[in-house]
């Protein structure tokens, strides 16, 4: 091949340019720690990375929300525990009062205690968690139970709305027990009946109230068990989500992250090429030609 002077210049510039280009790209990769800086770097990988980022964002969101769900369930659990305690206390009082040897006066004196317990039970029904009434169905912003403390009667102002949280994609967990659940009416009615029986000094009615309290207690413990098993389920979900998040994270880094060691190695190989080209050029570029040797 015939080599002309312009050919030497053009090809030298071209070689330097190509080395510079390669170095620039690798430097950017190393600086960002990412292999894909623009979709063009790997369109397929970009597509994957975008999908994985969406998964990751959703997984983190679910993980965050799962805590809130657990909080709510635990608040219900605590409230139901208190309800069980109230009912047990009332039952103890009732057993005491059912003793035939007790005087009517003493029985009547137990009534205010039961009245207090009724008030407590209503309070439990109106439990607030983070500004929301957890036993009000969907009507979480107002106390669902309104009681008349003279007659020990109550009205339920909530609804039967069942609130469910999505704890992981496609899986919902019911997190509330609406006040319309028989548990509340049974418990409150049992307390009222006990109160009335104590006032009336009617031992037969007191025994009947004990039976009512028993069934209310059963219901409460049953609901508490349900809440407990939901907590367990959600905790399992949380563990799964954590694992999923880690997996997505590592997949994403596999798709997106630069292999810094490899990039650095490539960079140094480009740099060597660049140096070598420069070295060769510095020897050619003064353009030694036959003219230099002619006198």
């Amino acid at each position: 091949m015939r080599i002309s002077q312009r050919y030497i210049i053009d090809s030298a510039v071209d070689r330097l340019q190509r080395n510079q280009e390669g170095m620039d790209k690798l430097r950017a990769e190393i600086a960002a720690g990412r292999r894909i800086l623009k979709p063009e770097d790997d369109p397929q990988g970009t597509h994957q990375a975008l999908a994985l980022r969406t998964h990751l964002s959703a997984a983190r969101n679910f993980l965050q929300n799962v805590e809130y769900t657990l909080d709510w369930l635990q608040a219900s659990d605590v409230a139901l525990g208190s309800m069980a305690k109230v009912l047990t206390e009332a039952r103890d009082e009732a057993l005491k009062a059912a003793n035939d040897t007790l005087s009517g006066q003493i029985r009547q004196s137990l009534a205010p205690v039961v009245r207090d317990l009724f008030a407590q039970a209503v309070g439990i029904g109106n439990t607030e968690h983070r500004g929301q009434r957890i036993f009000a169905g969907f009507k979480v912003q107002q106390p669902p139970f309104v009681a008349n403390m003279d007659t020990l009667t109550f009205t339920y102002q909530g609804d039967s709305g069942s609130i469910s949280h999505e704890v992981e994609p496609g899986s919902r967990t019911v997190i509330n027990i609406p006040g319309s659940d028989p548990l509340f009416s049974t418990a409150l009615t049992a307390l009222k009946d006990l109160y009335d029986a104590l006032q009336a000094n009617d031992t037969a009615a007191i025994r009947a109230a004990i039976a009512e309290l028993d069934s209310a207690l059963d219901l409460t413990l049953q609901r508490q068990g349900e809440v407990g098993s939901r907590v367990k389920g959600v905790q399992g979900t949380r563990a799964r989500l954590q694992k999923f998040e880690l997996e997505v994270q590592s997949l994403l880094s596999r798709v997106e992250s630069a292999d810094v060691a490899e990039a650095a190695l490539n960079l140094s190989s480009y740099e060597q090429g660049y140096q070598a080209t420069l070295g060769a050029l510095s020897r050619i570029l003064p353009f030694t030609s036959l003219f230099d040797y002619m006198r």
Partner: protein, 460 residues
Amino acid sequence: MHAFSGLQIGLSALISQQLLQETIAHNVANVNTKGYSRQRAMLVALPPSNPYSVVPQTGLGVAVGEIRRSASVLLNRQIEREGGSLAYWTAVRDGMGGIESLFLEPGEYGLQATIDNFWTAWRDLSIDPTSAAARANVRQAGEAVATALQRTYQGVANTLNQWDLELSFSAARIGLLAGQIAALNEQIRKAVAAGDPANDLRDQRDMLLQELSRLARVQSGENADGTLLVILGGHILVGASGATRIEVQTGADGFKELVWSDDGSRVVAREGTLGATLSLRDWARNTVLVGLDRLASALIQTVNERHEAGYTPDNRTGISFFAGAGAGDIRVSDAVRSDLGAIAVAAGPDSPGDGRIALDIANLQREEITSLGDTAGGFYGTLVARLGLDVEQANNMVKSQEALVQFLNASRESLAGVSLDEEAVQMLGAQRAYQAASRVITAVDEMLDRLINNTGLVGR
């Protein structure tokens, strides 16, 4: 054959070798001139004056038959064509790359992350429907989605307008080059008629043609009189009567179009930067803007559909969350913008604790949207990957075209470029020949001297 013909032969050698030397000087002077084709004085021996003479005769010396330009028309045409293709793909790559970078993907600030945040905000609200902060978050995330879509759309639209504007520049540039080629045609025609090959003018014209090819693909052919016919997209650009002008008009779609001034037909430009601008314009409109619009209108429609079915805390229903029709004007509706209480979260009235509508909207994240044939995120991901693929393809084309053009240029330089070593050798040859010719003249002179001054002394 007369007594002084030896001097004549010597003189012809002096003149020819001098011309040879000057050609070499011209080559050396243009060693760095881009597009210069080396020239060589082609020497021819002059035949005897009377070929029918019965006496043996010598020739009459030497003359320069022509100054030949080492250029391959075929190679030049190839460089023009592939150079035009390289210009096309470079412009396409740069243009698409600019659009690609508007998307900020993959990253935390791209549209994808913004849309993901939007779904996340709804999911947060679904489990805490009475929280004012969660509501504010949803509105803010909605505004971020609208802003990001609008910003991307506007960015593409601005680039599109820029491209549209560039069409007029390209047209003006083509007009200028065509005018210059027409002027050179005229000069070359005159020179050729006068017997001058017009080598340097041809070099200049080839350079102009190359530059023209980088704007759009042209076909060219040289006429017998040395003028060049240039055809662009089947229409004569430079002909016998000079250059045809290209005019810029605004088409029915509001975009510029180029038409020939003589018959008003549309300029069909392929390859080159002009071809690139035309394809980029179509690409940005039909792929990018349409894609963004489909995504935006799908979001507006599906989110609104679900939001309108929901109830606000004060039992309003049928409120739109987004307003607008596409990516150009998507925004959070005035109702929601002015009042956080207008965000509908519950599936029924009087249910402040019900977050089912919010969850329904959040779940759009993984639901296929009919008009997109994919989830919103999937559709967007495909759009971005498509962009990436297009840029990657353009990039690959640029790389292979670069290699090809470089090879062709190298071939051209190899054929037509100036090599100083070669010129030095040629120069030595010319110099020595010149010296020898001078010596021949001196010898003849001495012979004549003997004849004129030293013979026939008898008569003195």
